[in-house]
């Protein structure tokens, strides 16, 4: 009874804390400017099914794709087991599904165990790739202490959880063989039966092992749940809405800024009266800080799991330039988190004197981009770092008048001669002269 009470308290506290932190992230995301991504729902569901659920963009790197798939399927399927654990915890039952499900239960437990081994193995391989082989993709200026630790924590926690799960089952399996108490026969336990011989043989020690593992497993899961909002691992939740709200246009198509259209129309046609700007609309061109970006940009920042596929295909990064698309996303997340904390602590209009551009992302980074869309193509969850880079450039050029000098020359040429180079418009047709 006491156990049930403790369990319920822990469960409620964990869910409350998690909801509170998710609420904060939601609030932070909605600090971004509005953008309409509600069109074509059927197409959006399809893309979500394909890219998020089906993980079709992961396969570009097959090794990682297979391992990740094990962990992903493991995560989803083992949730059934977690459901049982929750019910057992609340009602003080033991393996509540085993009776109603009958032989299917044994099959399910068997598949959970196989998946658990696959998850465990994948996590070990991932740890090796990060910490022993030192895969280049997992290094870079933005991969500082915290992001590296974050990745390792996630993998270690998953290994511990799976180990606890298998040990728990092994103890259970042994107790079943002893026909001890409530431990009734519930399937074959294909994996844990193999490690069972490693466990002590006394029923008392086995019960302690089983209970400790049970509590460790479920408390670990609840703790992990509450770790998510602080971690890159939050992608397991946001990947789905983030893909749903993907940009459905062709990658080459950049937005035409309506605020600029109005001004240009007024310039070309003096009789044109631009519509009054919508209420609350910031009159800034481009983005200087995270709140100038759209909510989708900010959602993407929280979705990024820092896998570095974007950076590894970025032509600027490959050739040693400062730009790293992953850093653009991580900086955006760090900054919006900071802005959110400022609001919590100092109220809505607090100015901490920092901005995304310059404090976090330097001009050198944004001017190294070739807008080639390789990063966008590479992202398994349809994150678009190029949109953010473009917005920062727009601010630099249109608000700050701080483009590189050679680009200012190009602008001047285009304005005066209708070409980015210094050629006369009158010479534009010379190429056709009798060749």
């Amino acid at each position: 009874m006491i156990g049930q009470l403790i369990f319920i308290i822990i469960l409620v506290a964990a869910i409350y804390l998690f909801s509170k932190n998710v609420g904060k992230i939601r609030r932070n995301i909605l600090l971004g400017k509005d953008t309409d991504r509600s069109d074509q729902p059927a197409k959006r569901w399809r893309i979500m099914a394909k890219v998020a659920l089906g993980q079709t963009k992961m396969v570009k790197r097959p090794v990682a794709a297979v391992m990740h798939f094990f962990i992903y399927v493991g995560f989803i399927i083992i949730n059934l087991e977690v459901m049982e654990i929750m019910i057992d915890g609340i009602f003080g039952s033991h393996r509540v599904f085993s009776k109603p499900l009958g032989s299917l239960y044994g099959l399910l437990i068997g598949s959970f165990e196989v998946l658990a081994v696959l998850v465990l193995t994948s996590c070990v391989v991932f740890l090796i790739r990060r910490n022993i082989i030192h895969l280049k993709r997992f290094s870079g200026v933005e991969m500082t202490e915290w992001p590296k630790s974050d990745a390792n924590y996630i993998l270690c926690i998953e290994i511990l959880l799976m180990t606890a799960f298998l040990t728990m089952n092994a103890a259970d399996y042994k107790l079943q063989a002893l026909h001890f108490g409530e431990y009734i026969k519930a399937g074959n336990f294909p994996v844990s039966s193999l490690i069972a011989p490693l466990l002590p043989s006394s029923a008392h020690a086995l019960v302690i092992t089983e209970r400790v593992c049970w509590w460790f497993h479920i408390c670990g899961i609840l703790a992990f749940l509450n770790y998510l909002p602080y971690s890159k691992h939050f992608h397991i939740l946001l990947a789905f809405p983030n893909v749903y709200y993907s940009n459905l246009s062709l990658k080459g198509k950049f937005t035409n800024m309506p605020s600029v259209t109005n001004e240009v129309k007024a310039m070309l046609d003096p009789s044109f009266t631009p519509p009054a700007p919508a209420e609350g609309e910031v009159s800034r061109f481009g983005a200087k800080d995270v709140t100038d970006l759209t909510w989708k940009n900010l959602m993407e920042a929280y979705t990024c799991t820092e896998c570095g596929r974007c950076t590894s295909v970025c032509p600027a990064n490959i050739t040693g330039k400062l730009l790293s698309p992953r850093k653009i996303m991580m900086d955006t997340r760090d900054r919006i988190t900071e802005v959110g904390k400022n609001i919590d602590m100092n109220g809505k209009d607090h100015d901490d004197g920092k901005t995304l551009l310059d404090t976090y992302i330097t001009r050198e980074e944004i001017w190294a981009c070739t807008s080639c869309n390789a990063c966008v193509e590479a992202c398994p969850v349809n994150i678009n770092p190029l949109e953010i880079i473009t917005e920062l450039r727009r601010y630099s050029v249109m608000e700050d008048a701080q483009a590189p000098a050679s680009l200012n020359n190009m602008f001047g040429n285009m304005e005066n001669n209708g070409a980015p180079w210094k050629y006369s418009q009158a010479d534009r047709f010379n190429w056709a002269e009798n060749k």
């Binding site: 035409n256 240009v264 080639c372 390789a374 450039r393 602008f411 534009r428």
Partner: protein, 281 residues
Amino acid sequence: MEDINPEVNGNSEIENSKSETFKVPTMAEMLAEGKEPEILFWVGCAGSFDERAQKITRDICKILQHVGMSYAVLGTEESCTGDPAKRAGNEFLFQMQAMTNIEVLNGYNIKKIVTGCPHCFNTIKNEYPGLGGTYEVIHHTQLIQQLIDEGKLKAEGGESFKGKRITYHDPCYLGRGNNVYEAPRRALEILDTELVEMKRCKSNGLCCGAGGAQMFKEAEKGNKEINDERIDEVISINATVVAAACPFCMTMLTDGVKHRDKEDEIKVLDIAEITVRANRL
């Protein structure tokens, strides 16, 4: 990278060509004669001013004339689409250019456009409609593919590419930007030659380094030029011809070949040039 060869209309050689003189019709002339061409050829700034790209522009005209397609150009009425300004963040300048161009295009009642440059192609096709300019826009490699599929264009009577190893460099704004991967390859497949793909091709293609207005500025500090990185990949697969489909890629790849001292071994040719050569137009 900052400057292109300022020499306009030098006496560049037209190898393998019948060297027939041709007259390029302008929209203004067409209008005066009360005619409407089937398609407008949007030449683009590089195609108009860059010496190397001018040759490709003329080759596209040769193809159009060879198949007897009625076309015209804007000539001196054409102006930059605004692409480099837009990618650089100067949305004002972009929209000024766009609206001015749209006025000209709509004034001539243009319905269909073929461009010689993926940047012009992308901008007019995707970004002009929102500003009042909606046209059917194709890139010249798509036109070539259509002509091949219709049987109007073959690869015969001209230079043989036999024994050469040709690879195709995907321009970002044609490939990833607009998912056009097969059209340019189709033009190469009809050649009697070996097509080899680089590891980074199609949607994984590596940029030449010129996009996003990089063409008009010095590269930021790094340890390698992007075009050298690309040419190293070309060298690694022992290709002897790199097919391009973008004037900026053309400049970057040609420079890369020069940097690696491979001018004798590796030729950079536009799909239009290859087509013209293969047919001796």
